[in-house]
Structures are given as structure tokens and as C-alpha cells.
């Protein structure tokens, strides 16, 4: 077994441990998926299959749930996740321009990851910092009152 597999197995046992502790397994599918995404970073097929097995639910149900909630992703994310808020407050204060700038900067569309695996670009709806609209969030840190010109400089810090 390669070293990578050992790490993956460790992750799986962490997940299974989490599931074992749950009082009500089937009703906690979403909590389990949250945990799994926290552990693995994303929810690839094999992770979903394990969850289905462990919770004794059909895998179609698991994948149906995963595909419903935009928080869950089946694609691995980049090292850094760049989100642009496209909530209404940010929209009227120019979020679209920010997003365009980022599309151009990375040459990817929202939901995609740069080829080098460094950055994932995404849009989300309102982080509650509407006072600072428009905002961009990099790895959870909020940058507010942004002008498209500033984007490049901020991202340089994450290279």
C-alpha cells in the first residue's frame, strides 16, 4: 500500500468514527457530508460510496443529496478558494465587475480551479458583510469595498 493510501485510510477511519458516534445515522446524512468534506476537502465518488455503505442508504440517495446542495462539491478545490459575493447588496455595488476581473485574471469561470491547482474561483450569496460591498473572500478572509484594480495585488499575497 502506498503512503498516499495510508493517509486516505486514516481519513476514512476518522469519518467512520464520526459516523459511529452519531445517535441517528440516516437523519444525519448532511452532517456526515459536512464532516466528510471537512476531512477530504471534497466529496469524490469513493467517499460518497463509503458513506452510503456506512449509513445503509442507497448511493443514489447520497449523490442526490450532494448534488442538491451547492456547499458540497465533487471536485477537488484549489489550495486557495476565492469567492466573490454575488448577493444583492454586492451586485448593486459592482460585484459583476469583480467577478469579470477574476475570470480574466485566472482565465477560469466560477466553479473552476486553475490548472496549477492553486486557486478555485466561486461565487456565493451574501456573507453578511454587505456594509463592505462588494466583497471578495479568500480562504475565509473578507476583502471589502473592493475595486477591480485591487484584485491583482491582493491575490499576489497568496501566490
Amino acid at each position: 500500500m502506498s503512503c498516499k493510501n495510508v493517509i486516505v485510510e486514516e481519513k476514512f477511519s476518522e469519518l467512520e468514527h464520526f459516523i459511529d458516534e452519531l445517535p441517528d445515522k440516516q437523519g444525519d446524512l448532511i452532517a456526515v457530508l459536512h464532516k466528510a468534506q471537512e476531512i477530504f476537502g471534497y466529496l469524490p465518488e469513493e467517499v460518497q460510496l463509503r458513506i452510503a455503505d456506512k449509513l445503509d442508504v442507497p448511493s443514489a440517495k447520497v449523490s442526490g443529496v450532494v448534488s442538491f446542495y451547492s456547499f458540497f462539491t465533487m471536485k477537488p478545490r484549489g489550495k486557495h478558494v476565492v469567492n466573490v459575493c454575488t448577493g444583492t447588496a454586492c451586485y448593486v455595488r459592482g460585484a459583476e465587475k469583480l467577478l469579470n476581473e477574476l475570470n480574466k485574471h485566472f482565465a477560469i469561470k466560477p466553479g473552476e480551479t486553475t490548472k496549477d491547482g492553486e486557486f478555485t474561483l466561486d461565487a456565493l450569496r451574501c456573507v453578511g458583510a454587505c456594509g463592505l460591498a462588494p466583497v471578495m473572500i479568500v480562504d475565509g478572509k473578507v476583502y471589502g469595498r473592493l475595486k477591480p484594480e485591487q484584485v491583482k495585488g491582493i491575490l499576489a499575497n497568496y501566490r
Binding site: I30, F68, T88, Y91, R93, A129, C130, G144, E149
Partner: protein, 632 residues
């Protein structure tokens, strides 16, 4: 901490904890005479906003620097720095408030901390440059900001006042008194009566009378029932519920326990968006503390009533705010709504009677019980009682959270509290109710807002999002923006919404691209009305509202897009043209950056755009340092 065994003990604790917050209260004169008080040597309280907005501007760092600097100066045991929830005035964050001087600092940065300590705390000199400047008379205000003057804070009463992570402060401010009274002195029916009389209606959007909902749930016979707090708050641009949970989580927990007692439930769930990490953290702390104090869990306050609360996380689906969808999501399923009836009050979570109530609805409960139904019913309009919290945002000067009595006009909120539009641009529209609401034109600014009046002008209260738009916003594009949202967020269950909203969006796109016809406009309207009439849940039923309201009030903009191929706000890129004016000095910058190479001209001579090739990217406009490029 041993569990509190009675209301009496709770009241004693309240007195004991009183000094914790005493100097922050307006009636500072009331000296607490009880001898069993906790020692409190702090003479100064520095309240730092720890709401999401201010935390985004590093308010945590400010707190850390404060503490470090206080320690350096040996003041750590005299000045207490407290992290609170949102003050509401997010536009000007990070906010700092100093008590007992009652001085309000705005836009504070960690670099200002030393000056505040040395000048204000030590020398007693207010740091003028950090005060709010009232825009009309350019007066610097220490306190009594106009932003707050017209507000009445009931649901937000403790936000920005107490430390949300310290249950003692909540208790000191009458916290859990209402629960104590309910458990020891009242029958569930009395409480239903009180809530019904108060006129409280659900703040989650529907406006259903809360007392009636509790009564229905109480009447449904079952071995088990549930209380669910709806903290999904998916309306983009709204952050009321999150702020309440961040700033005053115990008020919601207390109300949930009261509701549990009333309907006969021993278990409550808070369904909260996973994107709200701070609110989640504060709730977790609050639940833990409440359990330790015996305010949640078994035999609360020595009574026979047991109630506990568990958190359930959403995962990014707006429709999960709809109560039946929310219930399915808690059950670990796709968050698809189901037909009502049956209502959750009969057949809810795990098939059991369930009362789903909104965060803000809950936050209103303890004051109603303590101050009485009449007190609450005296506030507001005939059919809408009490206050409403709005998340004021968009092109308005004072973005933030405001709580006003029902019946306040939009004008008061936007201009008196919100300080008017940004850069004094012409106000065009206020959007309430988020993606379910409508766009209200200027001529309705003086309508007193409540559930009915908003509905009568094609919008709705919704959960309290209030977005201000000005002359630079294209209303067709705004409608398209909201439809894009609903298309994205439709659960896909029913035809009307799954396919219908998609078609609406397509027609809007056609119009904004200048390809629309009058026939399209007719189809748009027809389809919008039918979708409202046929959709399964509130999402689809209200999704056409942004279209219908803009069609009603801004039809001329639609017509201009269709007939004249013009977007007067110059938003729809297909309908704008870029041009270079005489201000051009021929610096060539635009030409060098144009991705289409469609700008020509020799150095030091006026440049010209070939509009046939221009893709309207706006790069030239952004690049020109001489304001020579214009959109028309």
C-alpha cells in the same frame, strides 16, 4: 456552575450579575444595593463590535491590540474590552463604544488603539477624528447618532450591548426571566393568548400569526413534537437573523424553550447556514452555557419541563428556508418542499407536529412576555405589530441593520436613518423581500411599511432585506439578476418553477441583449403570472415578483430596451456604446489595452473607437486617466 433550581434563584443571579453590565446601561444612577453581587472593579467598558461585518475589517485584531496595550499600561484590571455582536452601523465599522462616556467611534483600526487609550481612556479626551460626522451640518457626534434616533430596538435590544459569549451578561439584562415566569406562573394557553394578543406575526416572510401557529401545533396530538428555529436566511443581501444569533443567541434559545413549553415539545433544532461560522460558534457556546446553568436540558429551573436544542447545518440551498424543505433537509434529504397541507403544525419533522419559527420572531418573544402583550401591540400599525429589522444595503450611505416600528416609511428608513443614496445619486427603487419581493418606485417612498402595504404594491416584507438602487441600476437587469438567482436556487421539483423560471430568465436575457420584441414582453408577463399561480412552493410563487413589479413601475425601461435598444442606466453591455470625447489627449493607453484592437489614433491625437468591433468590455473606460472615454 451548579444548575439554577428556581426562578427565585435566577432573579438572585440577575442581581448578582447586574454590575457586569451596569455601566453600559443608560440609567447608570440605579445603584444595585444587593450585597450578593460579583466583584466588579472595571471602571471603563470598551465595546468592540464582533459582528461579521466588523470582523471582516479586523475588529478581532483591534481587541487583541487593545488588551496588549492595556496590559502594557497596567490598565488591564480597570478597563474591560468586550466583544459584542453587530451594532447595526456596519457601513462605518469597525465600531467601538466607550462606556460610561457613551462615545461611539467609527472606522477604527488597530493603529488607532494606542491613541484611544492614551487620549480618551487616560486623559479623558475624545478622539475627534474617529467620531461620526453628521453629513448635513458636518457636526461631529459622540453619541445620539441620527442612525439610531428613529430606531426602536426590541429584537436587537442586546446586540452591541452585551457579550454574546457570556451568559451572565444576558442574565443580568433580564435574560431567561421570561422563561422562568412562564414555567412557574403560566399555563401554555396563557402564553398562546399573550402572543396572540400581542399581534406578533412571523418575521420569516410569511407573516403568519405566531400565537396561532403555536396553538395549532399545541392542538395536534402526538407523542412527540418539535420546535425548529429557521436560521437559514438565504436572502442574498440580508443579515438580520445572523446578527441576532451572533449578538444575542440566548434570546433565541430562551424563546425556543418557551415555545417548547407552550406546544409540548422537548426538543428544538436550529437550522442554520453552514456559511455562518461565527453565528454557529456563538450558538454553540450559548447552548453549552445554558445547559450548565440549567436553562436547557432536564427539569429547567426546577420545573418538570425539559428542553434541549441541537444545531443542524444547511449546505447552501436557498429553498431550504422554506419550512417543508427545511424539515426535509434536517431529515437528511434533498431540501425539496412538499405541498401544504399538511402543514408542519400537524405533520412536520419526522412526521411529528412541528412549529417552525424565524430567528427574529423568537427574539421578540421574551420582551413580549416580560412587558406584556399590550406594550407590543401598541407599537406598529393596525395589522402589523411591533418592529421589523431591516438589512439596509445597496446604494445607501449607511448600510446596516435597522429596527423600526412597523408603519415607518421607506423614506424615513432610507433617508433619515440610511442617510440617503450614495453620492447623492437619484434614488430609483427600493427592493424589499429579496428574490421574492418587488422593486418599489420613488412615488411609494412614503408608504408606511407593513405586511399588507408592501404586498399591495407588489412587493413583500420578506425576511427584511432592503436594497436601495439608484439611477445607475437598470431595472430590467435587476429583474434578470433576481431570476438568475431563482433559476439557480429552484429545487427543480415542479414544472412551473423548474422550467418556467428558466424561460423567464431567457426572455429577460433576450431583452437585455437588445433582441427582445413586444411579443416577448407579453409572454414574459403572461408566464410570470401563471408561474405565480401554479408553483408548488413559495419560491416559485414569488419568483416572478421582481419581474411583475418592475414591469408595473418601470415598464418604460423594458420598452426602451426593446424598441430603442437603449439601456438608460448603461448597464446592459450590448446596448451601450463606448465613445471618445474631445477630452482625449492621445496618450494611447486605451488603444494599447483594448483586447479587440479596435481603437485607432496616432499619439497626441484624439482616438476613435470602431464600434463594429468593440466588445464593450469597458477596458478603455477604466484605463483612461483623462475621463475621455464615455458610455452612451
Amino acid at each position: 456552575m451548579s444548575k439554577i433550581a428556581s426562578l427565585n434563584e435566577l432573579s438572585k443571579l440577575k442581581n448578582k450579575f447586574g454590575p457586569l453590565i451596569q455601566i453600559r446601561q443608560e440609567n447608570e444612577k440605579t445603584i444595585i444595593t444587593n450585597t450578593d453581587v460579583i466583584d466588579n472593579s472595571f471602571k471603563i467598558h470598551v465595546l468592540a463590535c464582533g459582528g461579521t461585518g466588523c470582523q471582516s475589517s479586523e475588529s478581532e485584531l483591534i481587541v487583541r491590540v487593545f488588551q496588549r496595550e492595556l496590559e502594557k499600561r497596567g490598565l488591564a484590571n480597570q478597563v474591560k474590552v468586550i466583544t459584542t455582536g453587530c451594532f447595526g452601523f456596519c457601513e462605518q465599522g469597525p465600531i467601538l463604544k466607550i462606556h460610561p462616556d457613551n462615545v461611539f467611534y467609527i472606522q477604527v483600526s488597530s493603529k488607532d488603539v494606542e491613541e484611544i487609550i492614551d487620549e480618551h481612556l487616560i486623559k479623558g479626551q475624545v478622539v475627534e477624528r474617529l467620531l461620526y460626522v453628521e453629513p448635513i451640518h458636518q457636526e461631529k457626534l459622540k453619541t445620539d447618532l441620527p442612525f439610531y434616533n428613529r430606531q426602536l430596538r426590541i429584537a436587537l435590544r442586546n446586540c452591541g450591548l452585551i457579550a454574546p459569549e457570556d451568559i451572565r451578561e444576558y442574565i443580568a439584562l433580564d435574560g431567561y426571566q421570561a422563561l422562568g415566569q412562564v414555567l412557574t406562573e403560566h399555563k401554555p394557553e396563557d402564553i398562546i393568548d399573550t402572543i396572540k394578543k400581542s399581534g406578533l406575526r412571523g418575521r420569516g416572510g410569511g407573516g403568519f400569526p405566531t400565537g396561532v401557529k403555536w396553538e395549532l401545533t399545541r392542538k395536534s396530538a402526538a407523542d412527540q413534537k418539535f420546535i425548529v428555529c429557521n436560521a437559514d436566511e438565504g436572502d442574498p443581501g440580508a443579515f438580520m437573523d445572523r446578527s441576532i444569533l451572533e449578538g444575542d443567541p440566548h434570546s433565541v434559545l430562551e424563546a425556543m424553550a418557551i415555545a417548547g413549553y407552550v406546544i409540548g415539545a422537548s426538543k428544538g433544532y436550529v437550522y442554520i447556514r453552514a456559511e455562518y461560522p461565527l453565528a454557529i460558534k456563538r450558538l454553540q457556546i450559548a447552548i453549552k452555557e445554558a445547559r450548565e446553568y440549567g436553562l436547557l436540558g432536564g427539569s429547567i429551573l426546577g420545573s418538570e419541563f425539559s428542553f434541549d436544542v441541537e444545531l443542524k447545518y444547511g449546505a447552501g440551498a436557498f429553498v431550504c428556508g422554506e419550512e417543508t424543505a427545511l424539515i426535509h433537509s434536517i431529515e437528511g434529504k434533498r431540501g425539496e418542499p412538499t405541498v401544504k397541507p399538511p402543514f408542519p403544525a400537524e405533520n412536520g419533522l419526522w412526521g411529528k407536529p412541528t412549529s417552525v419559527n424565524n430567528v427574529e420572531t423568537f427574539a421578540n418573544i421574551p420582551p413580549i412576555i416580560l412587558k406584556g402583550a399590550d406594550w407590543f401591540a401598541n407599537i406598529g400599525t393596525e395589522k402589523s405589530k411591533g418592529t421589523k429589522v431591516f438589512a439596509l444595503a445597496g446604494k445607501v450611505n449607511n448600510v446596516g441593520l435597522v429596527e423600526v416600528p412597523m408603519g415607518t416609511t421607506l423614506r424615513e428608513i432610507i433617508f433619515d436613518i440610511g442617510g440617503g443614496t450614495k453620492e447623492n445619486k437619484r434614488f430609483k427603487s427600493a427592493q424589499t423581500g429579496g428574490p421574492s419581493g418587488g422593486c418599489i418606485p420613488a412615488h411609494y417612498l412614503d408608504i408606511p411599511i407593513d405586511y399588507e402595504s408592501l404586498a399591495s404594491i407588489g412587493s413583500m416584507m420578506g425576511s427584511g432585506g432592503l436594497i436601495v438602487m439608484d439611477e445607475d441600476d437598470c431595472m430590467v437587469n435587476v429583474a434578470k439578476f433576481f431570476l438568475e438567482f431563482t433559476v439557480d436556487e429552484s429545487c427543480g421539483r415542479c414544472t412551473a418553477c423548474r422550467v418556467g423560471t428558466k424561460r423567464l430568465h431567457e426572455i429577460l436575457t433576450k431583452i437585455t441583449e437588445g433582441k427582445g420584441t413586444l411579443e416577448d414582453l407579453d409572454k414574459l408577463e403572461r408566464l410570470a403570472l401563471i408561474i405565480k399561480d401554479t408553483s408548488l412552493c413559495g419560491l416559485g410563487q414569488s419568483a416572478p415578483n421582481p419581474i411583475l413589479s418592475t414591469l408595473e413601475y418601470f415598464r418604460d425601461e423594458y420598452l426602451a430596451h426593446i424598441l430603442d435598444k437603449k439601456c438608460s442606466a448603461k448597464v446592459c453591455s450590448n446596448l451601450v456604446e463606448y465613445d471618445i470625447t474631445d477630452l482625449c489627449c492621445g496618450c494611447t493607453l486605451c488603444a494599447r489595452n483594448c483586447p479587440q484592437n479596435c481603437i485607432s489614433g496616432s499619439p497626441r491625437n484624439k482616438h476613435v473607437i470602431d464600434n463594429n468591433r468593440c466588445i464593450k468590455c469597458g477596458v478603455c473606460l477604466d484605463n483612461c486617466r483623462f475621463d475621455a472615454v464615455i458610455r452612451k
